[in-house]
């Protein structure tokens, strides 16, 4: 992730095709079907935990399908729940964190080995083709790219979805507003990304000396860029602490900026839009369960671990 141009641009190209705006548009129907099926099942049951039962499975099913990471390999038990367990431990359980990371990498290695034998129309197979044909990529780096896709393509969107749903659970009036005016959904999503962007900061290494507010930062030093801080900056956003669905302009940094901008942003926007459209339409009334305790994960990404809700009949 910290590689610089031109190698960085070349590495990005290896996965950019499957995440391009044009490619992403072709996933919409499949995502919508899955979202509708889940919402109807959960709403019919009346109560559920929206993080493990919705926020995580939606992006997981999307990533583990061609042309992204491709079909999942069998694991013992329900693969989505297994992945969830690994990611959960990675984020919240320091003792098990290293082990969880190893489990994910071991799984991805198995996936690579499988695609070695049975190439599919997916990113692991394409990365292997680059390695095999003597491109500037080794197997370990291919694994690294897949790990970034696994975390960035499942965990980060799951966090974004969880935060969006938490807002809606607390603010039924906002759900009603979007139900009455669905055209506002895209700009509402931008505002929710500004306010609740899961990626709180990114690490960079300075490539030159910088003077910032009288402080000199030297070339080679590691720095944290607090994206969430920038997104609540009153100099850029009027009444930055208020959520305004019609905020315009909204140059938020929910996906970062510059050459390292989130490569999955087009897909993330699509996910959040489809989820919001179907939710306000099909199950607009849900609220936190009485006495529900919200649990937050540790780490760089703002992550809600649990969101127990009840659906009310319309």
């Amino acid at each position: 992730v910290e590689a610089n141009p031109p190698r960085h641009a070349w590495l990005r190209k290896l996965v950019a095709k499957a995440l391009s705006p044009q490619a992403v548009a072709t996933y919409e129907e499949r995502i919508r079907e899955h979202v509708i099926e889940l919402i109807e099942r959960l709403a019919a049951r009346g109560a559920c935990d929206l993080v493990p039962e919705f926020a995580f499975p939606v992006p997981a099913k999307m990533m583990f399908h061609p042309p992204l990471l491709g079909h999942p390999l069998p694991v013992e038990g329900d693969w989505i729940a297994v992945f969830q367990g690994w990611v959960h431990d990675l984020k919240t359980n320091p003792a098990k964190s290293a082990q969880a990371g190893k489990m994910i990498l071991a799984y991805l290695e198995r996936l690579l080995a499988d695609r070695d034998a049975h190439p599919q129309d997916d990113i692991p197979s394409e990365l292997l083709e680059v390695v095999r044909s003597g491109g500037d990529l080794n197997r370990q780096e291919a694994l690294g790219i897949m790990f970034v896709l696994f975390m960035g393509g499942i965990e980060t969107p799951a966090n974004a979805i969880g935060l969006l749903l938490l807002h809606f659970a607390h603010h039924p009036e906002d759900v009603e507003r979007l139900r009455a005016n669905p055209d506002e959904i895209p700009s509402a999503i931008e505002e929710l990304l500004r306010f609740y962007g899961p990626s709180q900061g990114v690490r960079r290494t300075l490539t030159e000396d910088v003077c910032l507010h009288g402080q000199t930062l030297s070339k080679g030093e590691p720095v944290w860029l607090l994206l969430n801080g920038a997104d609540r900056d009153e100099l850029e956003f009027e009444h930055a602490q208020e959520i305004r669905f019609d905020r315009h302009p909204n140059r938020h940094l929910g996906f970062g900026a510059g050459p390292h901008r989130c490569i999955g942003s087009h897909l993330a926007r699509l996910l959040l839009r489809v989820i919001t459209q179907e939710l306000v339409d099909r199950a607009p009334r849900f609220r936190l369960q009485d006495g529900a305790q919200l649990r937050w994960g540790m780490g760089v990404s703002r992550s809600l671990e649990t969101l127990p809700v009840v659906f009310e009949r319309p």
Partner: protein, 71 residues
Amino acid sequence: MSAGTKYRLSIDPERCVGHGRCYDLAPALFAPEDDEGHARVLVQIVPADQLERARMAVASCPEGAVILDEA
């Protein structure tokens, strides 16, 4: 700004990194041109009924890459 003023739209390719805000907001004026989502303009002179959309795109680009100037 007089009623007859014409406006030209362009993208600074050095700045555009593919956020895609412009073609989301103004699909009649911009389109993605590659896998990263870099934008291209579809019109040079902005039709009068799209001028507001063009201004939205200028204001919304996180990189300041959308340029609207008098033709």
